[in-house]
Subunit: 329 residues, 2 copies
């Protein structure tokens, strides 16, 4: 099986590639070669039982997608995107990459013709939903994005479904929860604190909480997200009918629940490293985010996230900290 | 007030222009000039108290939209579209006109800059919804189109909301019911029979019914549709918040209810002109169409349709038949 990963240098791309390299297969299907693309250099993949090529290229530029398809990959993971803040700050770039770039990929698939109909796994986002919304958002909820990023994702979802219905490709779109605990350095994204308040204390470092502990949001671990991608790539897509886009399962937790989970896993000393510093700008942004979903369709189709936030923290410790806390308590 | 109507030669476009010419105003605002555009020649507008210019041009072609905006119309009615059957038969044309053409118009508005922010009334469609759906579809229902036409409309709805949120224009999208009774000749559209079985018998001509009398669908008269457009153009759009697209009210009726209304209005002789001739292809298409909506948001905002199908027939008699039946009974 030949696989193409667009956006392979991102956090999820790297973790997906790591999993494919370790397993040598996608589900039951042995991988013969893997083509990785990103606009920035991609970290070398360790030893693995198949050929890996890595390209630095902008798949959103005309002609690039056509070249990427020359080997006719059977599975395409489309993870590339201008992130939310940048798509809001730079209107043209967001639409060019997130909408036109992805549509260009779909049209390049169509242009191959000759019965070529790869599985395309598209990483969408819960940003397709905007306020006001119900406390628990069901699978039939209208997409009413409150950002250009969410708009672009919602539009690509519609294209993915229509191109699939017309048998031009075989698409599955998955709306990822907020990924938590994000590894790496603290960042300035409005959502960064959800990860910072767990990751930093686990490393013995202080973290700032800019919102009320009552804030509730929707999470899954990076590990769960990678498994969503693999499951979406191997699923019998006939089960989806014409509705090719699915809200992924996750854990609905308040910040207070996050903190109590941290206390159970890492003790009071870790929790004492969190300092409350209310930031009304961040609080306002986060107030427009969904709090919980009933992701029934995805669960029925076998997508699985963590059961609670304790488990999300344990996954982080296993996958990022070698399975043990770095500080004794 | 300067007004631009794109798609002015279509049935709704003509009726809208006729109303504006008769009233000389849009709501309370006197009209100073009206620019009409279509890809086909536009019927001359009768005497009216403002300047009318008519252009034959394809607003979906690059550069054309910019020229149309040179007079900075305060209100733009965007009624132009490749219809459902053609968008399904010609993939590229449907996307080029219905998606790229409309997006090009929005971008041309944006390019004017200088605080130019016209009201843009976009005619969307209940084709943004696809099966399986509830018996009654609410305002929060996900758009899951079953056609490329519906997909293109749903995408433009998302663009309209995002461009409005970013203050690049002031958009209102209205999802029109199936227009009934459509004037003119019987056509081959799958939905044509809903009008044929009323219009033709009222003219003393036979009509074919290709589906079961139990088929239920969602209707409004051409007159109601034109009033939706005018109301959308004059509405205080701040009331809409970020959700700029509304399902219009209508009448949910079965074919049997249509026929009984025809009997009440025009007698048994008219009904006897309807011949049942089941067509499984049409029955299959129509089975994928919505049956009823709870258009609560639009009603709250003052949009009004007919109360029942009898009224829809009477509107047809008033507006198309000079107020009286052509045949004595």
């Amino acid at each position: 099986m030949r696989i193409l990963v667009i956006g392979a240098a991102g956090m999820l791309g790297q973790k997906l590639v790591g999993l494919l390299a370790r397993e040598g297969a996608l589900g039951e299907m042995p991988i013969s070669d893997l083509l990785l693309v990103d606009v920035v250099p991609i970290r070398a993949v360790g030893p693995c039982p198949f050929e890996v090529r890595a390209l630095v290229a902008d798949a959103a530029r005309p002609g690039v997608a056509r070249d990427l398809l020359s080997g006719r990959p059977e599975v395409i993971f489309d993870l590339a995107a201008v992130v939310s803040g940048e798509a809001e700050a730079d209107f043209d770039k967001g639409y060019r990459v997130n909408l036109d770039g992805t549509r260009g990929l779909f049209d390049a698939v169509r242009a191959v013709g000759d019965g070529y109909r790869p599985r395309v796994v598209f990483s969408s986002s819960i940003a397709v939903f905007g306020p006001p919304f119900a406390d628990v958002i069901g699978d039939e909820q209208a997409t009413t994005p409150a950002t250009s990023y969410g708009t672009q994702k919602a539009i690509v979802e519609l294209l993915l479904s229509d191109y699939t219905r017309r048998e031009l490709l075989d698409g599955v779109g998955i709306r990822l929860p907020t990924i938590c605990v994000r590894p790496g350095e603290p960042n300035q994204a409005a959502s960064g604190f959800f990860s910072n308040i767990i990751r930093e204390p686990l490393n013995g470092a202080p973290a700032v909480l800019p919102v009320s502990p009552q804030v509730r949001h929707w999470f899954a671990s990076p590990r769960a997200a990678v498994h969503f991608l693999v499951h979406a790539a191997t699923l019998d897509s006939e089960l989806l009918g014409h509705r090719r886009c699915l809200t992924m399962p996750g854990v609905s937790a308040t910040v207070a629940m996050q903190i109590e989970a941290l206390r159970r896993v890492a003790g009071d000393a870790a929790v004492s490293l969190i300092r409350s510093e209310p930031d009304s700008a961040i609080a306002r942004i986060v107030a427009g985010w969904p709090r919980a979903f009933d992701a029934r369709r995805a669960r029925t189709l076998g997508f699985r996230a963590e059961q609670d936030f304790d488990q999300i923290i344990r996954v982080h410790i296993e996958d990022e900290l070698g399975g043990h806390l770095r500080r004794s308590r």
